[in-house]
C-alpha cells in the first residue's frame, strides 16, 4: 500500500512535469484564444479583487495594530510605517493574496475542469476540432500568471491604506508623512521580487488547478477530490515557491 502511494506520487509528479511541458509547447503555438483569455482574466482578476482587497486591508490594519506595542516598547512608533510597509510589501501581501487565490481560483478551476472531464466535455471538444488544452488550460494559467501581480499591487495599495488607518488609531500621522516614510524605506528590491514571485504563484495556482481538473476520474466524487487536492497542493506550492524565492533573493542580495 505504501509503495503504491509512493508510486502514485512519482506518477503524478511525472504527469505534472509533462503537463507543464505541454503547456509551454501549446502556449506559443498560434491560434490564440483571446476572448477566452480575457474572460478568464475577468474571472480571476475582477472577481477575486474584492476578496483579495478586503484581506489585504485587514492584514494591513492588523499587522499595524499588532506591531504597535512592540514598537512602542522600543520608543520607535515613528518607524512603524516603514517597518510595516516593508513587511507587507515583501512578504505578507503577496503570500496572503496567493493563498486567497489558491483557495478561490484553484478550487474553481479544479472543479470546473474536473466536471468537464468527468462529463467528457473535454473529449467532445477535441472531437469538435477545438484544442481543449489550448482553450481550457493555457488561457486559465496565462490569466492567473497575468492577474496575480496586478492583484498583489492593488492589494499592496489597499493594505498600506489599512496600515495608515491602523497607525492613526494610536497616533496622528498625516497621509503625506506616511507616504514619505514608506517610500523612503521601500526599494525596488522590496517590490520587484514580490511581483516576480507573484508570476510564479499565479503559474503554480493555475497549472495545479488545471492539472488536477484535467485528469479527474471517478465521477462526481473525483470532481470533489480534484477541487480539494488542487487547493491543498497549490497552497503548498505557494509556500514552497516563497521559500525558494526568499533563498534566491538572499543569494543575490536583493535587499
Amino acid at each position: 500500500m505504501k509503495s503504491e502511494a509512493f508510486k502514485n506520487l512519482l506518477l503524478e509528479t511525472g504527469d505534472l512535469y509533462y503537463f507543464v511541458i505541454r503547456f509551454f509547447k501549446e502556449c506559443f503555438r498560434p491560434r490564440y484564444e483571446f476572448a477566452e483569455l480575457l474572460r478568464q482574466c475577468y474571472l480571476i482578476g475582477n472577481k477575486t479583487l474584492p476578496l483579495v482587497g478586503l484581506t489585504g486591508f485587514i492584514m494591513g490594519l492588523v499587522i499595524t495594530i499588532q506591531s504597535h506595542p512592540s514598537m512602542e516598547a522600543f520608543g520607535a512608533q515613528s518607524w512603524l510605517p516603514s517597518v510595516v510597509s516593508v513587511s507587507l510589501v515583501r512578504e505578507i501581501v503577496p503570500v496572503i493574496t496567493a493563498l486567497i487565490c489558491a483557495g478561490k481560483i484553484g478550487s474553481s478551476i479544479g472543479a470546473e475542469l474536473g466536471s468537464m472531464a468527468v462529463t467528457e466535455q473535454i473529449d467532445a471538444m477535441e472531437v469538435s476540432g477545438t484544442n481543449p488544452f489550448k482553450y481550457l488550460v493555457v488561457t486559465r494559467v496565462f490569466a492567473a500568471v497575468l492577474m496575480l501581480p496586478l492583484l498583489i499591487v492593488l492589494s499592496d495599495t489597499i493594505a498600506l491604506y489599512g496600515s495608515f488607518l491602523g497607525i492613526n488609531m494610536k497616533q496622528v500621522v498625516s497621509f503625506h508623512l506616511f507616504t514619505n516614510q514608506i517610500f523612503l524605506k521601500l526599494s525596488f528590491g522590496d517590490l520587484l521580487p514580490s511581483l516576480i514571485k507573484a508570476l510564479f504563484f499565479g503559474f503554480a495556482i493555475g497549472i495545479i488547478g488545471c492539472f488536477k481538473g484535467f485528469y479527474t476520474r471517478n465521477g462526481t466524487q473525483g470532481v470533489g477530490r480534484a477541487a480539494n487536492s488542487a487547493v491543498v497542493l497549490s497552497t503548498f506550492a505557494v509556500f514552497i515557491i516563497d521559500l525558494v524565492a526568499a533563498q534566491i533573493a538572499d543569494i543575490f542580495h536583493i535587499i
Binding site: A35, L38, R39, C41, Y42, G45, N46, L49, P149, L150, L151, V153, L154, D156, T157, T179, F183, L184, L186, S187, F188, D190, L191, L195
Partner: protein, 317 residues
C-alpha cells in the same frame, strides 16, 4: 454578448488601475532613491567608513541630496567613497564643504553628512574629491568616557565626604540656621539702610552747597564767583610778573657784579682778590683779637671797681 463587453471593460479598468498603482509605486520608490534625477558624481576619502554601504543617503545640512554609489579601499588606511549629488541641490554646495560619516538617529543607517564651508570656493563639480572628517569612533569615545567616569566617581565620593562633614559639624549649617544671626543680619541691613539714607541727605546737602557755591553764596563762593576779585588777582599776578622781571634784571646785574668781583675789578673785587690786602686783613683781625682780649681784661678789672661792683653784684643775685 453585451454582458461580455461590460466584463471586458471592467477587466480593462482593473488592469489599468493595477498598472497605474504599479507605475506610481515604482516611481515613488525611484524618486526617493534619486534614480530619475540627474546628478553628478563626487567622492571623499576616509580612514574608516564604519559600515557605510552603497545606497546610503548623502545629506547636506540635513536634507537628502544624493546616495552613496561605491565604497572601496584605495590604500591600506584609505577608503574612497563615491556618491552622487542631485543637480538641483548643487547650487548651494561649494568645493570647501566637509564630508563626514554619521548615523541616522542613534542606531540608524550610516550616512554621509556634508557641512558647508565658508562658501567662498567654487561650486561642486563632477569628479571633485571633497575634504573629509573621520567618523567618531564610539569605542575610542567610550574608553575615554570610562576614564572620565572613574574620575567622576572619585570626585563625587570626595564631595560626599565634604557634604557629610558640613552636615555633621553644624558649623556652617548653624550659620544658615541661626535665627539670631539672621536677625542681626537683618538689623545691620536696616542700619545700612539708615546710613545710606543719611549719606543720601549728606549728598543732598553737598549738592545744595555746591549749588550755593555756584551761585556765589558764602566766602568760597564769593571767592570763586566774584569777578572783581578775579580781576584783582589778575592784576596781582601781573604785578608779580613785573616784580619777577625786575628780580631777573637785578639778578642779571648781580651776576655781572660777581663776575667783576671775580676779575678783581672795583673795591670789593680788589679786597677779595688782592692777597696783600688779605694778609693785612689777617693782621688787623689778629690785632683786633688781641685788642678784644685786652678789652675783656679791662672789663674784668672794671668789675672790681666801685661804681660797677655794685651793679655786677645785683646782676649775680
Amino acid at each position: 454578448m453585451k454582458e461580455e463587453s461590460v466584463n471586458r471593460a471592467k477587466l480593462g479598468a482593473f488592469v489599468l488601475i493595477g498598472i497605474t498603482f504599479l507605475v506610481l509605486g515604482l516611481y515613488f520608490i525611484g524618486s526617493k532613491k534619486n534614480i530619475f534625477h540627474s546628478s553628478i558624481k563626487v567622492s571623499a576619502n576616509f580612514n574608516n567608513v564604519g559600515g557605510l554601504l552603497p545606497g546610503n543617503n548623502v545629506r547636506f545640512n540635513g536634507i537628502n541630496v544624493g546616495t552613496v554609489s561605491k565604497v572601496y579601499a584605495i590604500a591600506d588606511t584609505l577608503i574612497k567613497v563615491e556618491f552622487t549629488v542631485d543637480e538641483d541641490q548643487i547650487q548651494f554646495i561649494h568645493q570647501d564643504a566637509l564630508a563626514s560619516i554619521g548615523t541616522d538617529g542613534l542606531l540608524g543607517n550610516k550616512l554621509i553628512n556634508l557641512t558647508p564651508g565658508r562658501g567662498k570656493a567654487d561650486l561642486l563639480k563632477e569628479g571633485f574629491s571633497l575634504r573629509s572628517i573621520n567618523p567618531l569612533q564610539i569605542d575610542v569615545a567610550l574608553r575615554t568616557l570610562t576614564e572620565t567616569n572613574s574620575n567622576l566617581k572619585l570626585i563625587t565620593e570626595d564631595l560626599k565626604d565634604i557634604s557629610g562633614k558640613v552636615a555633621g559639624r553644624n558649623s556652617l549649617l548653624d550659620l544658615f540656621k541661626d535665627t539670631i544671626f539672621a536677625s542681626n543680619v537683618k538689623a545691620s541691613i536696616v542700619n545700612l539702610k539708615i546710613m545710606s539714607n543719611q549719606a543720601l541727605s549728606v549728598t543732598g546737602d553737598l549738592s545744595a552747597i555746591t549749588n550755593d557755591i555756584r551761585k556765589g553764596k558764602g566766602s568760597i563762593g564769593a571767592l570763586i564767583t566774584d569777578t572783581m576779585m578775579s580781576k584783582q588777582i589778575k592784576q596781582t599776578v601781573v604785578t608779580f610778573k613785573k616784580l619777577s622781571d625786575s628780580v631777573a634784571i637785578i639778578s642779571g646785574d648781580l651776576a655781572q657784579i660777581i663776575k667783576n668781583i671775580n676779575r678783581g675789578k672795583g673795591s670789593v673785587g680788589v679786597l677779595l682778590k688782592d692777597t696783600m690786602v688779605v694778609h693785612n686783613l689777617n693782621q688787623s683781625i689778629m690785632r683786633i683779637d688781641t685788642a678784644a682780649g685786652h678789652f675783656s681784661d679791662d672789663m674784668e678789672a672794671l668789675k672790681h671797681i666801685w661804681p660797677f661792683k655794685k651793679y655786677f653784684k645785683k646782676e649775680k643775685k
